[in-house]
């Protein structure tokens, strides 16, 4: 037997918790086991096993009552509860301020928590979520809308990864698709997904019907989600049935091979059906020819468990992918591939042309910060009011101490009281959240709901929050009050003002500083949005109806439609183009002198028809517009914008008649005034405009504002003569507003929480003012008796508070300026933050504070002095 003994700490721990009448036998048993283990194993292992045995004695039958319960405890608890309750009832004003403030703070916190949790939960429902990765790429030099980082990859990439790197288990290529799905006469316009046969092995979730490896194997297979199948077929088993799918020029019958459950709300990639990629000729040809020249699809893959994505990234680079496969000698960029996890898709990255719904990480941080700030504001309120009221409670404390209460009992009493109040606030907060969450969810476009029991974070989170808020807000009063000296208190010698006023004042200042920052932020966001709305865009967005074109049948008949519509009395003019002027998406490269490579200019392009400039009101500053009579215009006539002319080194006048090379030699016919072809986040880039030649993305009709419904139904009727596709129209100004949706949501949400913060701060100030006036009641009475006017009393009471607001203002403005300046950096076109914004927000807070205090002060000033002086 080795000379050893069980680990001391474990032994002592065991003695500490074990019931005394069990000690002898248990120690004996465990020791016997220990020495037996010592013979079989190493010392170390025997020690670990001893610990294991000790910890396994942590069972109810073996644990002694560690907390000795005093005999009178029930009675004391009852008394605490009764006193707390009486205090709540007696001081209705303070109680409702306390509870109301806390409830609002907690409700905001819970709502934001739900939002943040939802944002972080995206795509976590796949069983193998942490093994799913994808490839993104950087093409240094290929700048598009300010970025050279792309989500799309070449077609053969998935199979190449699978072949060359053993840690890639399966790769799949996908792309999104929107198509017309028809079952006999019923048409459905829904979002779908192209996916190759490996899809269900990478995105590994259970199918309702069909085998994961086989459903997408054959061309012209389609897999439906349960609800889509139900929408088309009702309760009939859809397997083996056929659907017609139509998009662009393509129209084919697809056989239903599988059924999947609906995707959960937190899926960033959403679709109603998956069609086999083999049926897409672009895809299957590119795969057959092993063509790496097109970056059109998304490549996802399953990584072996334990394999490092960084390592794979390195190996891809070392293997020379994609350079070793690129056959196009003139390809100008050196693409770099990156490995990203699926979990990062929603929040952590935003490459160009990405698939899936995007969240905004900044906003998640932003809102989390607001949640915490609002909660702290509410806690501060509680502390402030409790400290201010401590005079009233001080006698109770003195008496309790005098008859033998311990300090820890008092601390427990006050903490218990604040937890009780928090609990009441919590119940109200949950009710508030239940009421408001649908609107909040609608505002931020997320399906949020309060679900206490199905969410495994929620209940423990709430209990923790309850305990934390209760303890945090109750801590200062608890420790301060319990530390009072009974003799002094009972003699009435306590002067709460001297000791607490500093803390109290800084808390109030903090609250108001936060309110001012929030108001400034709101005003700046609002102003920037107004600025965007009102900014001279360079085109006219009012009274233009745009119709999305997806069916080739419309493109073929575009001339007929245009002529017909032009003659309709309520339509002023009609044009069509491949992009709307709000968002011109394609870009290319031109050269004004073919021999010099440096003169290459990356330029956006849009394809339009003859009436484009007229319908959108785009101004021509030099040269001429396209002319129907001039046949050459179709092939080689171009308009460019001012920025393009400048980039090519011409003034607008010089540019006319100049030539550059694109597909062939092209001639500049005219120069248009710069207009905002992207959102205001981006600056204006070079642009060239040429005639459509069959590229039609949308038709735009400039209409008279009268009889709009009639005009729209006329348009719809004439479109539906040519196509089964649904009639998709919108007003150009709505489309424009949509580009700033994120900012608008931010502004509205911000406004909402700003109001809450101000309400909380005002509640606190209101309570403080009330208490201070109550405590200085006699002083006011004497002043009045001696002849003070009501006005002088009001200003006496208000001055101190107003001073605090002023300090808060001085603290808040630089911080607010810094934060908002940072936010504005995201816009290429932005307002300057003007001084009056600060003054205005300071003024708003000042008015609110003055009204809050004023009410109390006026009440005090008008009081009959006899009332407060006679009861001595």
């Amino acid at each position: 037997m080795k000379n050893s003994h069980p680990p001391k700490i474990a032994y002592k721990f065991l003695l500490w918790f074990l019931k005394s009448d069990l000690v002898e036998e248990v120690i004996g048993d465990l020791e016997e086991q220990y020495f037996e283990n010592l013979e079989k194993y190493t010392n170390r292992k025997a020690n670990v096993l001893y610990w294991y045995q000790v910890l396994n004695y942590l069972r109810p039958f073996a644990i002694k009552n560690i907390v000795p319960i005093p005999k009178n405890s029930n009675g004391m608890f009852k008394s605490y509860l009764k006193i707390s309750w009486r205090n709540l009832i007696k001081q209705k004003l303070y109680s409702s301020i306390n509870i109301g403030g806390l409830a609002i703070g907690l409700a905001s916190f819970i709502m934001i928590f739900l939002y943040v949790e939802h944002e972080l939960s995206y795509d976590n429902f796949y069983p193998n979520e942490n093994q799913i990765y994808r490839i993104t790429q950087r093409q240094p030099g290929n700048l598009y809308k300010g970025s050279d980082y792309f989500a799309v990859t070449p077609t053969p990439l998935a199979s190449t990864l699978e072949r060359e790197f053993p840690e890639v288990i399966k790769g799949t290529t996908i792309n999104y698709l929107t198509a017309l799905v028809s079952n006999d006469e019923d048409n459905y316009w829904e979002d779908g997904l192209w996916a190759d046969k490996n899809y269900f092995e990478v995105f590994n979730y259970p199918l309702l019907l069909g085998e994961p490896q086989k459903v997408l194997e054959k061309p012209y297979s389609i897999v439906l989600t349960a609800s889509f199948a139900n929408k088309i077929f009702g309760n009939i088993n859809p397997l083996g049935k056929e659907l017609k799918i139509k998009f662009h020029r393509d129209e084919n019958q697809y056989k239903i091979t599988g059924l999947i459950p609906d995707l959960p709300e937190n899926s960033s990639i959403k679709f109603d059906y998956i069609v086999s990629f083999e049926s897409n000729s672009n895809y299957s040809n590119a795969l057959k020819e092993n063509s790496w020249n097109n970056n059109s699809y998304f490549t996802f893959f399953l990584l072996k468990e334990g394999a490092k994505p960084e390592r794979l990234e390195q190996k891809i680079k070392q293997a020379g992918i994609p350079q070793k496969y690129q056959t196009d000698e003139t390809y100008p960029f050196k693409d770099e591939y990156y490995v990203n996890s699926l979990g990062d898709l929603h929040l952590n990255m935003d490459p160009l042309f990405d698939i899936g719904l995007k969240g905004n990480k900044k906003y998640v941080y932003f809102f989390s910060a607001i949640a915490i700030v609002i909660l702290i504001l509410a806690c501060i309120n509680y502390m402030n009011l409790a400290v201010a009221r401590s005079i009233n409670r001080a006698r109770e404390v003195g008496l309790r101490k005098a008859i033998g209460a311990f300090r820890h009992q008092l601390i427990a009493q006050f903490l218990g009281e604040s937890i009780l109040i928090t609990l009441i606030a919590f119940v109200i907060a949950l009710g508030l959240v239940q009421l408001v969450i649908p609107y909040f969810g609608y505002l931020i476009e997320r399906p949020l709901k309060l679900d206490l029991f199905n969410n495994n974070l929620m209940l423990p989170g709430i209990l923790f929050l309850l305990f934390f808020v209760g303890t945090f807000s109750g801590s200062y009063p608890a420790f301060y009050l319990s530390g009072l000296h009974p003799v002094k208190v009972l003699k009435g010698k306590i002067d709460s003002r001297s000791r607490n006023s500093n803390l109290q004042q800084s808390l109030v200042i903090g609250q108001y500083a936060v309110s001012i920052i929030l108001i400034i932020a709101c005003l700046v966001i609002y102003q920037q949005l107004q600025f965007i709305q009102k900014k001279e865009l360079g085109y006219n967005k009012e009274q233009i109806i745009t119709i999305t074109v997806r069916d080739m049948a419309i493109v073929k008949n575009i001339q007929t439609l245009q002529d017909k519509w032009k003659s309709y009395p309520n339509i002023k003019n009609v044009t069509y183009s491949n992009n709307l002027p709000t968002n011109i998406s394609s870009s290319t490269i031109i050269n004004d002198d073919d021999d010099i490579f440096e003169n290459d200019l990356s330029i956006y392009e849009t394809r339009v028809d003859y009436d484009y400039l007229d319908v959108y009101g785009i101004e021509l500053i030099a040269g001429r517009n396209f002319n129907r009579e001039n046949k050459n215009d179709v092939e080689e006539g171009y308009l460019i914008n001012e920025t393009a002319a400048l980039a090519l080194g011409w003034t607008p006048e010089q540019a006319i008649g100049k030539q550059f090379t694109h597909n062939g030699v092209e001639t500049v016919l005219g120069v248009v005034k710069d207009f905002h072809m992207h959102s205001m986040h981006l600056s204006i880039e070079p642009l060239m405009i040429h005639l459509s030649k069959g590229w039609v993305g949308n038709i735009a009709a400039k209409v008279h504002p009268e009889n709009l419904p009639e005009t729209i139904s006329y348009l719809e009727k004439s479109v539906s003569e040519y196509t089964q596709y649904p009639f998709e129209y919108s007003f150009l100004d709505e489309k424009f507003d949509q580009m700033y949706k994120a900012e608008e949501v931010l502004g509205e949400t911000f406004g909402f929480f700003t109001i809450l913060a101000i309400i909380i701060a005002s509640l606190g100030l209101f309570g403080l003012a009330a208490i201070s006036i109550e405590q200085r009641g006699k002083e006011i009475g004497i002043r009045k008796v001696l002849g003070a006017s009501a006005i002088s009393i009001v200003s006496l009471m208000a001055t101190n508070f107003i001073r605090m607001v002023a300090v808060a203002f001085i603290l808040a403005t630089p911080l607010a300026w810094y934060l908002m300046d940072k936010w504005l950096q995201d816009f290429a076109f932005r307002i300057d933050i003007e001084w009056w914004i600060f003054i205005l927000s300071g003024f708003i807070v000042f008015i609110i504070a003055y009204l809050t205090i004023g009410y109390q002060s006026i009440k005090a000033a008008l009081l009959n002095p006899v009332n407060c002086l006679r009861n001595e």
Binding site: E24, E25, V26, I27, G28, D29, L30, E31, E32, Q33, Y52, Q53, L55, N56, Y57, L58, R59, F61, A62
Partner: protein, 117 residues
């Protein structure tokens, strides 16, 4: 007596107490025996907790044994099965047997569960 139902683990422990007899029926040995017989390892605490529960239910009684040198003079708590405990075990066995007899394919060949020694 609180509850007379026997859980599977409880039943095995009760049987083991019977098997081990007067000298060895204490927590540590029962735990070891459990491991030897079933191949499942379990902590002494878990067995001890079950033993004390069985005692509460009246299936077992216990008393402290004599001090021995091997445990540094510490006594063991020796458990023994009561008549009521034995009866409950028999009822449980008979009940299972009757179920097995009704069981279609195996009822025939099955020659009984005999736990007592």
């Amino acid at each position: 007596m609180k509850e007379t139902k026997l859980g599977e683990f409880e039943e095995v422990i009760l049987l083991l107490v019977g098997i081990l007899g007067e000298d060895d029926a204490y927590s540590f040995k029962i735990t070891q025996e459990f491991k030897d017989q079933t191949g499942r390892s379990v902590s002494i605490g878990a067995v001890h907790s079950t033993l004390s529960r069985l005692e509460e239910k009246g299936f077992l009684t216990s008393e402290m044994g004599k001090a021995t040198a091997e445990r540094g003079g510490r006594r063991k708590r020796i458990y023994s099965i009561t008549a009521y405990g034995r009866r409950t075990l028999e009822i449980s066995r008979d009940f299972k047997m009757s179920l097995w007899r009704q069981f279609p394919q195996f009822g025939f060949e099955f020659d009984g569960l005999n736990f007592s020694r």
